[in-house]
């Protein structure tokens, strides 16, 4: 027992004294801390904006209501915007995901919703292209590089400078010697993961609830995947240069090329012409009604809201009831395209998840974004909540509009409050399982290869 500890201790010492190890570990920690800082800055900025909304909303409505004094609600209702927002989950600081691309606030009027739903956020497109250096980037892109740096010459380096020969003749149990080397590196990687993750919890102030543990689990499994992948390469028993080249090539393939190709496959398989179509249809659907008899438009409206049938709509002049009925008609006519659009976005999500089965990097990124609620699904949920809010607002105003209530007689703060999307706890098991299967495959393969190339070896080149 004692000699095992000694070996392990010396193995550790030998490993940790290496300049490259310390250097890369420090680099990674620095980037990690910067990543936390960056994620915090971006999300805090968004949260600050979200917090300012209620004041803006109140001021805005006050102004509208005072301007509208003396006019009926039907006229005034055209002006106000109602703000909605997509609050960031605590984990969004860890993985900003799509939150920088998709708008996190949207304001809607009582007019047709489809024309208002896809308003973009103002962002610097070059920043979007380059992407965020957030914690998830550090874990998903940079951690593998650390693992590569720690393992690529683990055995080949010793073979190349000759220690390996002495090592092999020194012990009757070469398996143990290899195992110790692996163990030390594995322990180091795991320590680094936990160290960075726990500092993330502290710096980002993550709540100690299930999603945090899920996040930790995903990262752990992901790191183990890379470790086992590197071990497979080491177990091939090739030269240091070969190992480094192969590992870096795999990294580039998995992190850059595969997603690039996969993205093209997704876009080609599920194109979204509906995006433009929805806008066009909604616009036509609404505007053509101006030149059509009012009755059919009103019938469309009554089909949904029969309770307003009792109010007269004059055929020969403008009336607010008719105006909002036209807006609704625009939405109804584009509803089909809009539904197709949403379902296609969901299809894209599902399809990319399936493609990601072949690439644990993608899987891990998707899982992390799921935990953080910063993926496309979250945005779709947000858009749905905006639609819902829009409906609520309309329905709040309809009675005042049809009753021809004066602006000052209406309660301008009594409208239904916006109910933001709540945190959605996602099921991650299938993604995690996929990575675990990859790990198992890697482990099995490396064990076989280690036996073949290092333990039962009869090949003078590696001797």
């Amino acid at each position: 027992m004692k000699s095992r500890q000694k070996i392990l201790f010396l193995e550790c010492k030998n490993f940790l004294i290496g300049k490259a190890v310390i250097f890369s570990a420090i680099c990674l920690l620095c980037f990690g801390v910067y990543g936390f800082y960056h994620g915090k800055t971006i999300i805090d900025r968004q949260q600050k904006t979200i917090l300012s909304i209620s004041d803006i909303q109140k001021k805005h409505l006050d102004q509208i209501a005072s301007h509208g004094r003396g006019k009926p609600v039907g006229t005034t209702a055209y002006y106000p915007f109602f703000y909605t927002f997509n609050p960031a989950s605590p984990w969004a600081k860890f993985s900003i995901g799509q939150r920088d691309i998709n708008p996190f606030t949207l304001k809607v009027k009582m007019l047709a919703i489809e024309g208002q739903l896809y308003d973009a956020e103002l962002t610097n497109p070059l920043t979007l292209l380059v992407g965020n250096l957030d914690a998830s980037f550090v874990f998903i892109f940079l951690f593998p590089l650390l693992i590569i740096a720690l393992t690529y010459n683990m055995i080949s380096g010793e073979q190349e400078n000759g220690v390996w020969k002495i090592l092999r003749t020194s012990t009757t149990n070469i398996k143990a010697a290899i195992f110790y080397k692996l163990l030390v590196r594995f322990a180091f990687v795991l320590t680094m993961t936990l160290l960075l993750f726990f500092s993330g919890i502290l710096i980002l102030d993550l709540p100690l609830t299930q999603p945090t543990f899920q996040l930790g689990l995903v990262l752990m499994v992901y790191v183990i995947f890379w470790f086992s992948l590197s071990i497979v390469i080491v177990s091939l028993g090739k030269s240091t240069s070969f190992n480094a080249t192969t590992m870096v090539s795999i990294w580039i393939f998995l992190c850059i090329l595969f997603p690039g190709v996969a993205n093209i496959i997704v876009n080609r398989n599920i194109p979204i012409p509906e995006a433009a179509e929805t806008t066009i249809k909604q616009r036509e659907g609404y505007h053509e009604k101006w030149d059509l008899p009012k009755k059919p438009t009103m019938e469309k409206f009554y089909a949904v809201y029969p309770q307003y049938r009792k109010y007269p709509i004059p055929e020969d002049q403008f009336s607010p009831g008719w105006y909002y009925a036209m807006q609704l008609a625009g939405d109804l006519e584009s509803a089909n395209s809009s539904e197709v659009l949403f379902s296609k976005l969901n299809q894209r999500q599902e399809f990319s998840e399936r493609l990601a089965y072949f690439n644990p990097i993608l899987t891990a990124q998707q899982l992390v974004n799921k935990v953080a609620n910063t993926d496309l699904s979250n945005h779709i949920r947000y858009l749905e909540s905006v639609k819902w809010h829009h409906k609520q607002i309309r329905e709040y105003f309809y009675p005042f509009i049809f009753e021809v209530t004066p602006t000052e007689a209406m309660d301008w703060s009594g409208y239904p409050k916006y109910r933001p999307v709540t945190y959605s706890q996602e099921v991650l098991s299938s993604g995690i399982l996929v990575i675990i299967i990859w790990i198992a495959l890697g482990m099995a393969l490396s064990i076989i290869l280690f036996y073949k190339n290092f333990i039962q070896i009869k090949d003078p080149q590696n001797a």
Binding site: L10, E11, K165, T171, D459
Partner: protein, 231 residues
């Protein structure tokens, strides 16, 4: 202790070692001389179990190397031409590491004694190996061999690149090891060093052991003449 019977290694058409018969007894130092490619390193690798013989058998302590590659490791120690140990660890730590791997437990004082026995100066014990000269690294290699109580020591070109003084020291240590009953097989180019340190000398050519002489029976000049005639 060390025995080769009809030991042969072929790579395709090329015969690297042909029908080698050789015995090295405990306390004996056997030096293999020969040109590059004569089969010296092949012989050592066969004894180490790094390669499989095409024919014949290599035995250590009566155990077949190819049949029990793991068992024989407890009897032998090996020092390659360039001894590169872990340069981040000190001499003492290297010794501790390798002897622990071999299943021995030594206290710090015991380890220090072993290094002294191998001829390393005390000041160097706690310095990182990165700063060692070749001769000093070899001494650590010897200490590793002593520490695991190796019955057999295999050396590949141990004196190449050593200055005369270091080379001389090395011979002394080898002799003292042999005196403790270790069987030593070394491959070398250095005729004079072989004559001085070895008990027996074999000259190889094209994979065959051409002649074996007792070092005491022959003068250095005669040995050189024999060598040149043989190769």
């Amino acid at each position: 202790m060390l025995e080769a019977t009809n030991l042969t290694k072929r790579y395709g058409n090329h015969t690297a070692l042909n029908q080698l018969n050789l015995t090295v007894e405990p306390g004996e130092i056997f030096a293999l001389l020969g040109q590059n490619g004569a089969g010296k390193t092949t012989t050592i690798n066969l004894f180490l179990g790094f390669i499989e013989p095409s024919e014949g058998m290599a035995q250590i302590n009566g155990v077949s190397v190819s049949e029990n590659p793991e068992e024989i490791k407890q009897y032998l120690a090996y020092i390659p031409e360039t001894v590169m140990l872990y340069s981040n660890l000190t001499g003492l730590e290297n010794l501790e590491y390798f002897s622990s791997l071999a299943g021995f437990e030594y206290s710090k004082t015991e380890l220090a004694e072993l290094l002294s026995t191998a001829g390393l100066q005390t000041q160097a014990f706690d310095l990182r190996l990165g700063g060692y000269s070749k001769g000093m690294r070899q001494k650590v290699g010897i200490a590793i061999a002593i520490a695991k109580k190796a019955k057999v020591l295999l050396l590949d070109e141990p004196t190449s690149g050593l200055d005369p003084k270091a080379s001389n020291e090395f011979s002394t240590i080898l002799k003292s090891l042999a005196a403790r009953g270790t069987a030593i097989l070394m491959a070398t180019h250095d005729i004079f060093r072989a004559k001085e340190v070895a008990t027996r000398i074999g000259i190889m050519r094209e994979g065959c052991l051409q002649s074996v002489v007792r070092a005491s029976d022959i003068s250095a000049n005669e040995l050189e003449e024999l060598y040149l005639r043989t190769v």
